[in-house]
């Protein structure tokens, strides 16, 4: 990170002062999708994609959201932008409940909250030139003068490391990494405060990933952005995040500062996840690993008690019966486990 950032951010340890202002507060959101079936398409059950998740995002921080596919991390990201309507719970952005806004108010709020996608191929409209894509965004939000828009587009392209002549080109003329930069430029067009990044580097080649990660960090410093970084890649989440939330079957099981979480996980699932993550060091490969048995259970019929008990190496009878609460487990950290690891 480059110096000259907000004083609240400890660059070396990547710790955001916990008294730092809260930008977004997520309170117990649930996202239940009906499962339809049968002849009349009646509701036969619910996929509990997100099942009671609470956390807050502090101004200027990067909050990592990790978990395996189907754990609800992307859905959470969509729900806090109200791109999906949460079934229950509330999301407050700068103190305003975004679920109480009408369409017009929500459209204005969209300037402050943006989204960056995983797949740089499907996230750009193939029929619009880069300039047109960015121009539309500016136009919707009231930049009427074409000359002004062009000026801003040039500025945006340069900001993300592209050239102003790229504005006349179409998405298919760019590589994956360049497309991701265009997606970032689109998200930045309206000067947002919060960006949800949904697996922003997972689809990119290894040698391109670090370019994009550097760009994201640089932009955060220059523009004072807050990131919700959704990813299944533990290495990248650890690298980029100040705090990390771990999700399993629609619930957050652990939340802590990045270093604490990776050095000293409290939840057995976090521990297993970290242990399973291949380390790029062949000398460490014969270290014992925690290999979780079986698969993630179905979110339609989640297990009783603690959702993780079916795979947990430490599970006891209480875990099968009683759902653990998401409680404080040290300074600025939370865990949902009856028997947290010490």
């Amino acid at each position: 990170m480059v110096s000259g950032t907000s004083e609240k951010i400890d660059v070396q340890n990547r710790v955001i002062d916990k008294n730092s202002e809260v930008l977004l507060k997520v309170d117990n959101i649930k996202m239940h999708f009906p499962v339809r079936g049968g002849f009349f398409g009646g509701v036969q059950g619910y996929v509990k994609a997100v099942d009671g998740v609470s956390f807050d995002l502090r101004k200027g921080e990067t909050f990592g959201l990790v978990g395996e596919s189907g754990c609800g991390k992307s859905t959470t990201g969509r729900a806090i932008l109200r791109l999906l309507e949460a079934t229950s719970g509330s999301v407050e952005f700068e103190g305003r409940d975004i679920y109480s806004l009408n369409d017009q108010e929500l459209r204005i709020l969209r300037r402050d909250m943006q989204l960056i996608f995983q797949d740089p191929y499907s996230s750009l409209n193939p029929r619009l030139s880069v300039g047109d894509t960015l121009s539309r965004v500016l136009k919707i939000h009231g930049m009427k003068s074409a000359a002004e828009r062009e000026e801003r587009i040039k500025e945006l392209l340069e900001l993300v490391g592209l050239n102003s002549f790229h504005m006349r080109r179409y998405p298919h003329e760019f590589s994956g990494g360049q497309r991701q930069r265009i997606g970032i430029a689109r998200a930045l067009a309206l000067n947002p405060k919060l960006i949800v990044l949904d697996e922003p580097v997972s689809a990119l080649d290894v040698s391109i990933q670090s370019q994009v990660v550097n760009l994201l960090e640089e932009l955060q410093d220059r523009l004072g952005l807050t990131y919700l970084f959704v990813s299944h890649g533990l290495n990248i989440v650890r690298y980029i995040s100040n705090r990390v939330g771990v999700m399993y079957l629609g619930k957050m099981v652990e939340l802590a500062n990045s270093n604490d979480l990776f050095e000293d996980p409290k939840h057995p699932y976090t521990q297993a996840l970290i242990s399973a993550n291949p380390i790029p060091n062949p000398r460490l490969r014969d270290q014992p690993k925690i290999i979780l048995e079986g698969d993630v259970p179905s979110p339609i019929n989640p297990p009783s008690g603690c959702y993780f008990h079916t795979r947990c190496p430490y599970a006891q009878s209480k875990c099968r019966e009683e759902e653990p609460a998401f409680v404080k487990a040290g300074e600025d950290r939370f865990v949902a486990c009856h028997y947290p690891l010490s």
């Binding site: 290894v206 670090s210 990776f262 291949p278 062949p282 290999i291």
Partner: protein, 333 residues
Amino acid sequence: MVTTSVKTDTVVSVKDLKTYFYTEDGVVPVIDGVSFDVRKGETLAIVGESGSGKSVTSLSIMRLIPTPPGKIVNGDILFQNESLLEKSDKEMRQIRGNKISMIFQEPMTSLNPVYKVGDQISESIMLHQKASKKEATAEALNLLNLVGIPEPERRLNQYPHELSGGMRQRVMIAMALAGRPDLLIADEPTTALDVTIQNQILQLMKDLKAKRDMSIVLITHDLGVVAEMADRVVVMYGGQVVEQGDIFTIFEAPKHPYTEGLLRSMPTAAKKNGKLYAIEGTVPNPLHFPVGCRFAERCEYAKDLCRQEMPQIQNLSEDEVVRCWKYTDRWEA
């Protein structure tokens, strides 16, 4: 304990292989002079980014290049000292599945959705061995046990869509093992899987390799998986091998600037401060490869020499091969 097996018997030997694709826009040299050996009982990892030619290399070994547009235009592939390129299609079908098997990234697309898992496995057993339907089913059950599928009897009667991703990959592995192959080619076998499931599959592959005394060619872009699995590594870039060596040399003393860059750009905890190292630029377009070294444009050591002339592949030691001007007499000149 850390171990690498160094055996000298060669299972597959790829020699100066060139596989070109003839497209509307021109000739694409997807593989452009690739040579390497796979030794008995080892895991050889082929590492590279998209467009590096790593997957086409494996398809070339299997003789599964779609023709047209693709064509092997040069070189040879020796399997147990016999040229695969000279085999008839019928002989190749015998080899595929029996002696060389392959598993792919997305098990759902490689399994037939309309047949039960058990039928698909016993089918592939009967294809390669003289077995009755009953024997084949029994063997299928054995294989499901071998690949660690819980409740194997029940799984025999299930359809692919009823299984999870990890389970399907296990079924694919079971099918690949049906013919008792000497070589298993695994093309990004865990890329579509979650970390905890990936771990299970990698562990399974390790166990099976030891039990069945197979060689494995592991194609991946994930250096974590390579560090976990491989005995030796082939690094590909722009359709060529740029470096080849044993796992420890590659990770601890990489020679080629590209390998070095890949390792340095890993976001591991040790490099938390400051910026993440990044290889600048993008992968060159295979339709317009540069004259000189294909990595020169992105290489921080590149000199005029690198841009003007393609470096040749050379042996630094018995086990180490690199394609870079830095290791030649002409570098200092």
